[in-house]
Symmetry: C2
Subunit: 145 residues, 2 copies
DNA sequence: AACACATGTAACAGTCGGAGATACATATAC
DNA sequence: GTATATGTATCTCCGACTGTTACATGTGTT
């Protein structure tokens, strides 16, 4: 399956936004993310609704952080993306008459729930400033390729 | 993304195999799994190679357990399937020059590794007899729909 | 007002991996 | 030899993220 890279993509962008003094355009940020502006805006829409970033239209417009990195947890970012599915595995049918299948489903679901809790815990503990490089090497946004 | 249901499918089948006195055919087992014989055989091929089950060709042939449920862990089954990918999320590129991206990738990868360890631990602790219903309600294999 | 610039979003094609389906070779019991 | 079952190759189907194009909306400049 194709890996859903939105979380890591968006984190990357947020850290770059923090290093920037002015607004950065979708065009520039999409390039740093390795994709195109439309995909970028689609992905960032949730973060804007969640109040993590602001965007300005028109001449001189672009994107900026709405809060300092220290006040944004990784979990909030994950939620703002719409809590995308974490797992590639699962049960064929959630509701079944078969007792055997019920037991199997329970084991798989329980383990996934545990893992899910672990994700939530770790992500909730980490604020974005903890991920930012201590001594920013460059204030410029790089481009891919 | 489509959920990979092979693990739960196969567990389901193994528990039914334990309840059966004789060999069960791919046709019967595929029906109980809710799929068709070819998919079933493709999925079970790994378990046969791993020595968890045996299969006999020809008239009166079919499948049987090669070991008692108490000597098969959930983790062994997972391995026999070829350790299918557990997660739907990931990083866009594993190797990058960007320091920011490196940090982000590390956080995501580390958390996934932790979750992966949790899966391995839980799965390793559980033998299949622990999932089997205590008092088998029926020795017959049900069919879907 | 006209224009350039930037975001917002809809609509549709591309991609990748599991799942479904068919065909056919191989092996075994009767 | 025939019926029965597995073993496997080869397609197509499907769903979710990704990529792309097109166009509407809003904003600053001249």
């Amino acid at each position: 399956m194709n890996r859903d890279t939105r979380l890591s993509d968006v984190l990357h962008v947020l850290l770059h936004l923090d290093q920037a003094k002015e607004l950065l355009t979708s065009d520039v940020l999409a390039r740093s993310m390795g994709t195109n502006p439309a995909v970028f805006r689609r992905t960032m829409a949730g973060l804007r609704k969640a109040g993590l970033v602001r965007s300005e239209k028109g001449h001189g417009g672009g994107w900026q952080l709405a809060r300092p990195l220290s006040e944004i947890t990784l979990f909030e970012v994950y939620e703002a993306l719409g809590r995308p599915n974490l797992f590639a595995i699962g049960n064929r049918s959630e509701h079944t008459e078969c007792l055997v299948e019920k037991n199997v489903n329970a084991v798989v679901v329980d383990t996934m729930a545990e893992a899910s809790t672990l994700f939530a815990k770790r992500f909730g503990e980490i604020t974005l400033d903890q991920i930012a490089p201590r001594h920013p090497v460059s204030a410029s946004v790089h481009t891919h390729k």
